[in-house]
């Protein structure tokens, strides 16, 4: 029982990161009806950029508090990358059969993987100073890293911001209108192309932020993108594609199962996650919050 | 016994009462027109009967058997087939293949993995015959995606017909087709259907077509049946002409001889009985 709180905190931590990744994926799908198979690699890209920036500045002798300012670097980089990718690689495929979209984003996945390998090499890149620097707090007799608590907080803030952005701003209205009926929104004067690239950029920002905030506690490695994609997929299957509440709830469920899995049956934790996703799908094919 | 009976069929989409307690019947060997303004519920009714989705409440009886919750596959085996308003064909297959698929499916032959389809001469002969019935034999080897709109419409019906159904639903078989082509298409369809004694329920908006080709007309409005009777009864039904604005109430030319006389007892409602 002592460790329950610790496990719960770990689950929240993981929820925060998964929500950012899956939420981004869901947002992009909700507005544009495309699934970017390279989405996980944008998360990885964010992780790498942040780790690189932090490591670089550390090498220059920058004081640690300053390094925290570099944390969002990964998110910004991922967003920038996304804003370039959408008009060039994705837009030509909206009118074409789905297979081509999937093929082109899969090609993008492979390209990004090797771009990261080219830029940062095959070895893990870490930013652990940021994680160590905050020290730890004593929870029920164990030491728990303060940084993890910060990540959880960031996740909560991000979720709130996102909700406010989508439901309380004018841009959010345009976003929702476009997602519900693209032609109608266009007929009403919404610049759909602009909404698309903006939505895509936000989605990539979220993924990049997920990578950026997790990298101090676990290094950036090649292959983390695909692993993240697979997990994000389970999250949206459970929570429902196109729904942010679904991404949050789904992220929490996956995080809890993963935490339990790591503790009790580490070999088959991925398989157990799939079992749960399969069960949810059988009961509610659109996911818990999905739109049919 | 009626071929098809629906009892108090209900389908709501949220607030919209798409089909609202509908009692709809089709008799053997009759050609029936299903008319009504857009949103009246005609296509939803056809979707329910053909099995695209289940009703919220109500029953569908075909030949006396309850098919309400049967799969599409079972309903086709029982004898219900349909064509589609937006032409639904296998565009990358040739016209012959499109029809042949129905025939293979009917003969439960589509499960055969290890025999060459080309060898089953009986199927191909029949497919060709069906195309000829619909005037499409010259286009047998053409890709379905490359045919003209009129040809596609006919092919759509041919594919459904090749299932040898007892009840055929045709959803706007002449929509998108030029006025000139409508008559030949409808002539072909009704000739085939009548000679095989298949019952056909045709959703149509073109009133000339409706009055010229049908034995009986069912009018739907806002999810319910407004009127049900012979063309003459419907023409003189004030409730119908007022709700369907733009209906030509003038007398279309009557078909000489070939149509069975409209019978009053197919319509329990009689003339002038309006709903809602």
């Amino acid at each position: 029982m002592d460790f329950l709180l610790i496990h719960l905190l770990n689950a929240f931590l993981y929820t925060a990161v998964l929500f950012l990744i899956a939420g981004g994926l869901s947002l992009i799908y909700g507005v544009m009806r495309i699934i970017n198979l390279a989405h996980g690699n944008l998360y990885a890209f964010g992780a790498y950029v942040t780790a690189w920036a932090v490591g670089g500045m550390m090498g220059q002798g920058a004081p640690t508090p300053l390094l925290y300012l570099l944390l969002p670097a990964g998110a910004v980089a991922a967003a920038a990358l996304g804003s370039v990718l959408e008009p060039t690689l994705l837009r030509p495929f909206y009118k074409r059969p789905e297979e081509y979209q999937l093929l082109v984003t899969f090609g993008l996945l492979m390209i990004l993987e090797d771009v990261m390998r080219f830029l940062w090499g095959p070895y893990p890149l870490s930013a652990s100073t940021l994680w160590e620097d905050l020290g730890s707090v004593s929870i029920q007799g164990s030491l728990y890293p303060n940084y993890n608590l910060v990540v959880i907080a960031i996740g909560g803030v991000a979720a709130t911001f996102l909700w406010a952005f989508i439901y309380r701003t004018r841009f959010g209205v345009m976003l929702r209108a476009t997602s519900q009926d693209m032609r109608m929104a266009s007929a009403l004067g919404v610049n759909v192309n602009r909404v698309y690239v903006q939505a895509f950029t936000i989605g990539c920002f979220m993924a990049g932020l997920g990578g950026a905030i997790i990298v101090p506690s676990q290094s950036a490695v090649l292959g983390m993108g695909v692993d993240a994609l697979v997990l994000a997929f389970i999250v949206v299957v459970i929570g429902g594609l196109g729904s942010l509440e679904g991404a949050l709830v789904g992220a929490f469920i996956v995080a809890v199962v993963r935490e339990a899995g790591i503790t009790f049956f580490p070999e088959i934790e991925l398989a157990v996650l799939y079992l749960i996703a399969a069960l949810v799908l059988l009961a509610r094919p659109a996911g818990l919050f999905g739109r049919a | 016994m009626s071929l098809l009976v629906t009892k108090q069929l209900v389908k709501y989409f949220g607030e919209t009462h798409a089909v609202d307690h509908v009692d709809f019947t089709v008799q053997e060997s009759e050609v029936l027109a299903l008319i009504g303004s857009n949103g009246a519920g005609k296509t939803t009714l056809v979707n329910l009967i053909s099995g695209l989705f289940p009703p919220d409440r109500g029953q569908i009886l075909f030949h006396g058997a309850d098919v309400t919750h049967q799969s599409v596959h079972d309903r086709i085996k029982a004898g219900i087939a349909r064509s589609f308003q937006l032409v639904n064909l296998f565009d990358q297959l040739i016209a012959l293949d499109n029809v042949a698929l129905s025939i293979f499916s009917r003969g439960a032959k589509t499960g055969k993995l290890f025999s060459l389809a080309a060898r089953d001469q009986a199927v191909w002969q029949e497919a060709f015959e069906v195309l000829r019935l619909f005037g499409l034999e010259a286009k047998a080897g053409a890709l379905a995606g490359g045919l003209s709109q009129g040809e596609r419409k006919l092919l759509d019906v041919a594919v459904a017909y090749a299932l040898k159904p007892k009840l055929l639903f045709l959803d706007e078989p002449t929509s998108g087709v030029s006025t000139r082509e409508k008559a030949p298409i409808m002539d072909t369809i009704t000739a085939v259907v009548r000679s095989e004694r298949i019952s056909a329920a045709i959703i149509e908006h073109d009133m000339d077509v409706v009055f010229k080709y049908s034995d009986r007309i069912v009018v739907m409005h806002q999810g319910a049946i407004l009127a049900d009777g012979s063309p003459d009864q419907i023409r003189n039904n004030e409730a119908v002409t007022t709700t369907l604005i733009g209906t030509t109430a003038g007398s279309p030319p009557s078909r000489a001889g070939s149509r069975p006389a409209p019978s009053d007892d197919t319509s329990p409602r009689g003339a002038g009985d309006a709903r809602g």
Partner: protein, 331 residues
């Protein structure tokens, strides 16, 4: 000629044999006209062609894009490796039987889950399931040999020809012909399947799922069977691959390998029967020579895939076909 005869004639087996026959003869002759290295290289190409052929039953003919075919290749490969490790089997025929059984079991299960879903979900689900297998191969390293993999010695073919003696000689001649024989059988079987009523039904499902349902085809069942056949072909390829490679590792279950299968099929042209075969053989040569030049192999693959999809979506065979038609019309 009647219109019916014209329509049917284009699909007769006789025309197929016209180009298939000479090609087969050429392939048979390879070990005697080229050096052993070339024969072995071509053997790898033919093996990948079998995998691509299986994969394309799903993509080209059923309209389902799988990103997880490495799973079935790996299942075939590991089935062989396990048979060597635990059952001390050395017969190639038994290897093939074992691989088929293992593939059937895995594809039946995976397929049952996957075919319930729409295209995007299907694709990601296949990727995800293959990742599950990969992670299992890693974690249960005491069974699968982990990253070190499992060694597989040269097998005996037809109970008669054994690998004792010069290994290169064996691989370049006896084993090459064995692989070629299996390849030709697979091509013939797949050709029949694709031209069967079942194959037509698959294409109908690909073109218009709703209409296929309304013609009386039960969509899920057909997709499931297609999935099964597709996976088994790929599993057979995996089984043939292991003795050639001498070793199997989890790499063969990892997603980039699925990507290669997708790539080679798109390269050759997924809307034709022979496209995947050509694509696989061409890709095999490209990879062998390119890997020597750069470690950024995936980058190259990704860029070419994107370029293909943008400008040459019909692949090599498709584009060649169109050029041939234009040339015919100009002549």
């Amino acid at each position: 000629m009647s219109a019916l005869a014209v329509a049917l004639d284009t699909r007769s087996p006789a025309r197929v044999l016209a180009w298939a026959g000479p090609s087969a003869v050429v392939l048979v002759a390879v070990p005697w006209v080229a050096d052993p290295y070339q024969a072995i290289l071509l053997a790898y190409g033919l093996i990948m062609a079998i995998a691509a052929l299986g994969f394309n039953l799903l993509l080209g003919y059923t309209g389902l894009l799988s990103f997880g075919h490495s799973a079935y290749f790996g299942v075939g490969a590991y089935a062989v490796a396990m048979m060597v490790k635990y059952l001390k089997v050395t017969s190639m025929e038994l290897f093939l039987v074992g691989a088929v059984i293992a593939s059937v079991l895995v594809t039946a299960l995976f397929g049952f889950v996957c075919v319930r879903y729409t295209r995007i979900f299907f694709s990601i689900l296949t990727l995800a399931l293959s990742q599950v297998l990969w992670s299992l191969a890693f974690k249960f390293f005491w069974i699968t040999g982990g990253t070190d993999g499992l060694r597989v010695p040269t097998p005996s073919l037809l109970g008669v020809v054994t690998g004792k003696g010069d290994k290169i000689e064996f691989l370049a001649h006896a084993y090459y012909h064995y692989v070629l024989a299996v390849f030709l059988i697979c091509v013939a079987v797949m050709w029949v399947i694709v031209h069967s009523p079942f194959g037509k039904a698959l294409q109908a499902i690909r073109d218009n799922e709703t209409r296929a349902a309304f013609v009386g085809i039960r969509i899920r069942w057909y997709r499931w069977v297609a999935f099964l056949v597709s996976g088994v072909f790929t599993g057979i390829a995996g089984a043939l691959w292991v003795p050639l490679n001498g070793l199997t590792t989890p790499e063969v279950l990892y997603w980039p390998f699925s990507g290669e299968i997708v790539f080679m099929t798109v390269l050759g042209g997924f809307r034709t029967f022979v496209g995947p075969v050509i694509g696989a053989v061409v890709f095999n040569y490209l990879k062998t020579y390119a890997v020597g030049y750069t470690v950024y192999w995936q980058l190259l693959l990704g860029v070419v895939l994107v370029a293909l999809v943008l400008s040459l979506p019909t692949g090599i065979v498709g584009t060649a076909g169109r050029l041939a038609q234009r040339w015919k019309r100009a002549a």
